[in-house]
């Protein structure tokens, strides 16, 4: 990548190394209401960049789930003269014009987590459709032999969130093969209380025995769904979420929730940071992004795609805890100590 505006040439304290040891990397994340972006993605990426490149700055913006806000933040980064942009798009299909603009200024763009359209330089992600498939599959697994012909309630993410549509698509592709979806509702804005109401109304419409499992878009809504089920006295129905939020893991330990989907964010984030720094330095990224992906606008994008993992009570220690995503102390608070002990988590 070429050095951005001359206004930030002095930033890095002017180390030798061909001028590429200083620079600014822009980080654009899509929203701030779930745990992952602020608590994990951002610190992982920032720390890794700091580690790889002492003179580098990270400029961070969070779009709060609004495309136009993100576009403005994108422009602000170009104005500030960043050298590389890491973009986790709110609407990955809207971005081609922006990315072109950045490309015209010689600012490479790394698509993070969501495959942004336009001439991006690299793509690092978990495949969202794959996440949905895994959700569906794990839910069926939780039902075991009863899965064939089982009745499933689906509480999906926001109807206006394109990612929710991908999760939904993936989940359907699996669930529809062997089970029936008897009640399905999209929850505007991923609002947990609304999800809880939808669940209660589903119970009302289907009867206590009218369903065998509940697919929920994320852990936040799963909390409300479980509350609704428990209010109705139903405790033996598998409920699955996504995100591996602490509260979700605790529910899994306590036996309230069957699984969540864990994406090893650290891997994903750090790989992205490495790619970004490499682009900043003008280095080759073939090793870091060995895969190839096609977007509607571009093909053969150097990529690195990871596989998501379904976390159940059985593999918490091997996944989230082993990765240091959460410690046992985080999960096993006083409230959950007994459950942890019972599940052999210590």
């Amino acid at each position: 990548g070429e050095a951005g505006g001359d206004d930030n040439s002095g930033d890095g304290g002017g180390e030798g190394g061909g001028g590429s040891e200083s620079g600014t990397i822009g980080l654009l994340l899509p929203e701030d209401r779930t745990t992952r972006y602020e608590a994990f993605d951002r610190p992982y990426i920032e720390d890794k960049i700091a580690e790889l490149c002492e003179g580098c700055d990270v400029q961070y913006s969070n779009a709060g789930e609004d495309v136009n806000t993100q576009k403005q933040q994108f422009d602000a980064m170009l104005t500030q003269g960043v050298d590389v942009i890491i973009l986790d798009a709110v609407e990955s299909t809207s971005t081609s014009a922006w990315v072109e603009e950045a490309a015209a200024e010689g600012v490479p763009v790394v698509a993070y987590d969501r495959l942004a359209e336009g001439p991006i330089d690299a793509y690092v992600s978990y495949d969202n459709v794959r996440v949905g498939e895994l959700q569906g599959q794990t839910l069926l697994d939780a039902l075991g032999p009863d899965a064939e012909g089982a009745n499933v309630v689906m509480i999906n993410g926001s109807p206006t969130d394109p990612n929710a549509a991908m999760f939904k698509e993936g989940a359907h592709s699996v669930i529809d093969q062997s089970a029936n979806v008897v009640f399905e509702q999209d929850v505007d804005g991923w609002q947990a209380p609304d999800a809880g109401q939808d669940m209660t109304d589903a119970i009302e419409a289907l009867g206590d025995d009218g369903f065998d499992a509940v697919y929920v878009g994320n852990d936040g809504m799963a909390a409300a769904v479980i509350t609704a089920l428990e209010s109705a006295g139903i405790t033996d129905v598998p409920v699955g979420g996504q995100d591996a939020e602490l509260a979700g893991l605790q529910r899994i330990v306590a036996g309230q929730q069957s699984f969540t989907i864990y994406k090893a964010l650290q891997q994903e984030a750090e790989t992205t940071a490495e790619i970004a720094v490499a682009l900043l330095r003008g280095e080759d990224i073939a090793d870091l992004a060995p895969d190839s992906a096609d977007s509607p606008t571009d093909s053969g994008i150097p990529s690195r795609l990871f596989d998501p993992v379904a976390v159940t009570v059985d593999n918490i220690l091997d996944t989230v805890v082993a990765d240091g995503f959460y410690t046992v102390e985080d999960i096993c608070t006083a409230e959950y100590a007994d459950a942890c002990a019972a599940a052999g988590i210590s």
Binding site: T35, A192, G196
Partner: protein, 409 residues
């Protein structure tokens, strides 16, 4: 001196007996002074339509659910009604609700503060936030719309900040907040006793007042009217109690909501302070000239509104199973304001009543629940909710048309 001044001969006095009521009703119908009747009719229509479509709308279980759901938004709507009576608006209720839930969760779950203390602190924080809004509005003179819009943004920032790294915090199993959603007085007696107390209290108060009026030589209502009103209240109360007992009994949430409604209604209609709220909402300058401390009334109403929003936020968290960064965003604000307006409280101040919080949340919740039962896809839900909202108010507006131009002097 008051020679022939007794009753004005042009005042049409209601005839005694049933005929009088019928005539009175027909006159009101023509004059468009129907009060909450159109909304109540609208709700009955909604209930019938959904029952016909789903067959499970009018089950005790569904009605119980509705009664639990309305508590949170309903309590917030009580605060909004008070603010609307002042002629102002509060756009920050959703953020305040989310902030209060976040504070409670962080204090009680993460920091080990005693549960009830944390609840009190969270509600207190709502009051403090309300007082900040009230200060800027009443003392500094910034329009309430702008103050609470700033609050809407600012407090949800604080909410995210308070939640910190935790996206969601589960409600502990033994927390009182969980009971807000799931505790039921399962003893059959509870619901019936409450119904009896409400009915008895209502009739007694009415009867006491009429006796005092009679003693003072003022016109009184006929005993038949007291009996009729008592019978209506009794019917509503006992049918509700019966229905609730068919499922799991009297929900704690409903009890708290009713207590808030009754207290607020008492405050608004029976105390000097309530009178002052109406006066300020009707004509702030006239209220000031009458010696009312307008700033104080404004400030305190925002404090009460903030505390109620915070309390509502706890109910909302109980429903969601936990506090989160996004709790209280979304359509909550619009629903709460819409509830107050649909229930018959004017946006322009000085006109309305507390019970519109109950009526309005009932209408909105019935629509949502009914559409969910029907399994409508969400975009259709949006459209139908919009249309029904409109219809619920159209009936009222059409009847009011006739009296629209009734100018003054």
């Amino acid at each position: 001196m008051s020679k022939d001044l007794a009753p004005d001969p042009r005042l049409l006095v209601r005839e005694r007996g049933l005929a009088g009521y019928v005539e009175d009703f027909r006159r009101r119908l023509r004059g468009g002074e129907l009060g909450s009747l159109p909304v109540i009719i609208g709700m009955i229509v909604i209930a019938i339509v959904f029952e016909a479509q789903t067959g499970s709308f009018l089950t005790p279980r569904n009605l119980t659910n509705i009664s639990v759901y309305i508590a949170g938004p309903g309590i917030m709507a009580v605060g909004i009604v008070l603010v609307l009576l002042l002629g102002e608006i509060d756009l920050s209720v959703g953020s305040m609700a989310g902030l209060s839930a976040a504070l409670w969760a962080v204090l009680s779950v993460s920091n080990g503060v005693n549960d009830l203390v944390a609840i009190v602190l969270a509600i207190g924080a709502g009051a403090v936030v309300g007082s900040v809004h009230g200060f800027f509005f009443a003392k500094v003179g910034v329009p309430a719309f702008v103050v609470t819009l700033a609050g809407f943004l600012g407090w949800s920032g604080v909410q995210i900040w308070v939640m910190g790294d935790e996206g969601t915090i589960n409600i502990p199993r033994d927390s009182f907040v969980r009971d807000l959603n799931s505790f039921y007085f399962s003893d059959i007696a509870a619901a019936y006793v409450l119904a009896a107390v409400v009915t008895g209290g209502y009739v007694f108060a009415l009867w006491r007042q009429e006796r005092r009026r009679q003693a003072a030589g003022l016109p009184t209502r006929p005993t038949s009217e007291i009996a009729l009103r008592g019978a209506l209240v009794a019917a509503a109360a006992f049918i509700t109690a019966y229905t609730l007992n068919q499922h799991r009994g009297l929900p704690l949430a409903l009890v708290i909501f009713l207590v808030v409604l009754l207290l607020a209604d008492f405050m608004v209609r029976r105390t000097t302070y309530g009178r002052q709220i109406f006066a300020v909402g009707g004509n702030a300058e006239a209220a000031r000239r009458a010696g009312i401390n307008v700033d104080r009334v404004r400030l305190t109403v925002f404090v009460i509104g903030g505390a109620l929003a915070a309390l509502g936020g706890l109910f909302y968290a109980a429903q969601a199973g936990g506090a989160s960064k996004s709790l209280g965003s979304g359509n909550l604000l619009m629903n709460v304001i819409a509830a107050a307006v649909i229930g018959g409280t004017s946006l322009f101040g000085g006109r309305g009543w507390i019970w519109s919080a109950l009526l309005g949340t009932l209408v909105i919740q019935s629509i949502t629940t009914g559409l969910n039962l029907m399994g409508m896809s969400s975009e259709i839900q949006y459209m139908i909710t919009g249309a029904v909202l409109l219809l619920a108010v159209v009936l009222d507006s059409v009847s009011r048309q006739t009296q629209r131009s009734a100018g003054r002097t």
